[in-house]
């Protein structure tokens, strides 16, 4: 085969693919450019991809520091994402440890049952969960929302699969040294499961950060809003100000894009691991 010709076709495909991928993220490029413009320049046509007059700082100040409490939405999102992620990691890893390594009669049936519940769509149980949260007095609290986000059979399953691959020798020798189950869990299993914990943690964080539906149902007060509700509120307040809207969108998206680019291996791994084996 003619290698030179082969190389050439590879270059052609790369360039074509490159053009396609740029077209693909054009909406995000447009968002970035609009967020830095004066309002009167946003909808000009043909599109000025590079703003003629930079208005980045002023837009940033208006979004972050003026009457809509955007920085508070940000803090709420951060708090909710960290706490929901921590809860999920703790509960899922505890259950995974038990499912993978402890001999408890009946746990197999429990595992099967809990796996089968994964088929229940979240949306199908919104109404009763809303009623339950009201009864508990947790409606319109961050605690109630975190409770709704704290349990995930998906991550329990991923962690169980990973922990089954950890050799029993580690546990046996710890037991001979007199370690209790809690120490085995905290000092042996958790450190050995770091890769899957990191993967699960990042994905859960991203999902919670982007979650719109649960806060919409379980929160009511503006001062408790996370970013997605904040953006919705922002849209009602500034419906005619596209540049500020785009600045808000950029602010919500950029941290995640940075996290993703830095930790792409874990993110992609966490997304695919459930898919390919499932």
């Amino acid at each position: 085969m003619n290698t030179k010709k082969f190389e050439l076709s590879r270059w052609i495909f790369t360039v074509m693919c490159g053009a396609l991928s740029i077209l693909f993220i054009v909406p995000l490029v447009w968002m970035l450019s609009a967020s830095a413009k004066l309002e009167r320049d946003v909808m000009t046509y043909p599109i000025q991809w590079i703003p003629q007059e930079w208005n980045w700082v002023s837009n940033f100040q208006k979004v972050w520091l003026e009457n809509v409490p955007f920085s508070l939405f940000y803090w709420n999102s951060f708090k909710l994402s960290v706490l929901a992620t921590l809860c999920t990691l703790i509960f899922s890893s505890m259950a995974a440890f038990s499912f993978a390594k402890l001999r408890a009669p009946g746990k197999g049936i429990m595992f099967g049952l809990m796996m089968s519940f994964m088929i229940i769509p979240e949306q199908a149980t919104l109404v009763p969960r809303f009623i339950m949260i009201k009864w508990l007095g947790l409606y319109n609290t961050h605690e109630g929302l975190i409770l709704m986000l704290a349990f995930s059979m998906y991550f329990t399953f991923l962690m169980r699969q990973y922990m089954m691959g950890i050799q029993n020798d580690f546990i046996e020798s710890a037991k001979i040294d007199g370690a209790g189950y809690l120490r085995i869990y905290a000092q042996i299993m958790l450190p050995l499961s770091k890769p899957i914990l990191a993967t699960a943690g990042i994905i859960k964080f991203i999902w919670t950060w982007n979650d719109y539906q649960n806060p919409l149902i379980f929160l009511f007060s503006k001062n408790l809003y996370p970013l997605p509700l904040g953006i919705q509120f922002f849209r009602q307040e500034y419906s005619n100000n596209v540049s500020l809207m785009m600045m808000a969108a950029v602010s919500a998206i950029i941290p995640l894009i940075i996290v993703f680019i830095v930790l792409q291996k874990q993110v992609i791994n966490g997304i695919t691991v459930g898919g390919v084996k499932g």
Partner: protein, 309 residues
């Protein structure tokens, strides 16, 4: 399964021995997750089945609850809004699933075999998937703006005198939303296809090459059949998630204009959390649940048949 029993301690009192301890500890460890999943998944599902046979607005407490039998379900059959929602969900599934998966598969094959800088492309195509749906919806809303948005300006430049009004046009709202949905999910689907492709042995392609099989023949006789499990997985998950579409609809159109873009989950939201018809919303929730069960069982049956064959 491992037994972690320590020998030598067996001579303690009969009722308390290491294996009993392990059983108790084992259940304690899985208790929080198990209780959480049971109280937040299966219990609410049963509760909503009960609610679906009642008429209840939540405000009056249980005393106000009225048992209405199958009324909520029979009402669904005549509810034009619900039928519209069901129709939109079907259109949504019938278009976004095949279109999205075909594009994703083609792109995955090209990126897997034919380009340099594979990882860079993976990242670029994946970015919309990790973005907040609400934030990207806000961007698309500006792009779709009927008079000044870049999409319509472009169409007008091409000579289209009266381009669609997209999100505020009852014929185009659902189409505009499908475009966003396909765009956002494409990166995920592509990544899963790529993961499936890396599991296909290179040798198969090499020997096909020696036999003189063309690229398209190779795709048909090696890639497609060996990628089938991945395709099946993605088909199920994409169908199910297309039944659950909500965020884009709520944020962009509120089901409008005139319910033109309403979907089942939006109807559940509307009845349950705006009108507080808890019984009626529960009946719709069960329809959603049964649809998901139906899709999953059909694909299981197909899969089982293929394994036999």
């Amino acid at each position: 399964m491992s037994s972690l029993d320590q020998p030598g301690k067996m001579n303690r009192k009969k009722w308390w021995n290491p294996s009993k301890k392990e059983a108790v500890v084992g259940w304690l460890f899985l208790a929080p997750e198990a209780i959480g999943i049971i109280t937040l998944a299966i219990f609410p599902l049963i509760f909503s089945l009960f609610l679906s046979f009642t008429n209840w607005n939540l405000v009056g407490g249980f005393a106000e609850m009225k048992w209405v039998g199958f009324d909520n379900f029979t009402r669904l059959i005549d509810d034009s809004k619900f039928l519209k929602a069901l129709q939109n969900n079907i259109i949504f599934t019938a278009i976004t699933v095949p279109v999205g998966l075909i594009i994703a598969m083609i792109m995955a094959v090209i990126i897997h075999t034919k380009v340099y800088a594979k990882d860079l492309f993976k990242i670029l195509f994946f970015i919309p998937y990790i973005c907040s749906t609400v934030a990207v919806a806000a961007v698309w809303a500006a792009l779709y703006h009927p008079s000044s948005g870049p999409i319509n300006r472009f169409l007008m430049e091409l000579g289209m005198a009266d381009p669609p009004k997209w999100l505020v046009d009852s014929h185009y709202a659902i189409i505009a939303i499908m475009v966003i949905a396909i765009w956002q999910a494409l990166g995920y689907q592509m990544i899963i296809f790529l993961a499936g492709l890396t599991q296909i042995s290179e040798e198969l392609y090499e020997s096909a090459e020696i036999d003189g099989a063309s690229g398209i023949q190779q795709f048909k006789s090696i890639t497609l059949p060996l990628l089938a499990p991945t395709t099946l997985f993605l088909t199920i998950t994409t169908i199910i998630s297309s039944f659950k579409v909500f965020d884009l609809i709520k944020f962009l159109t509120d089901g409008g204009p005139n319910d033109a873009s309403t979907v089942i989950v939006y109807r559940i939201y509307e009845e349950g959390f705006i009108n507080f018809n808890m019984g009626y919303a529960s009946a719709m929730s069960w329809i959603l649940f049964l649809l998901v069960i139906a899709v999953t069982s059909i694909t299981w049956i197909v899969q089982a048949r293929e394994k036999k064959a």
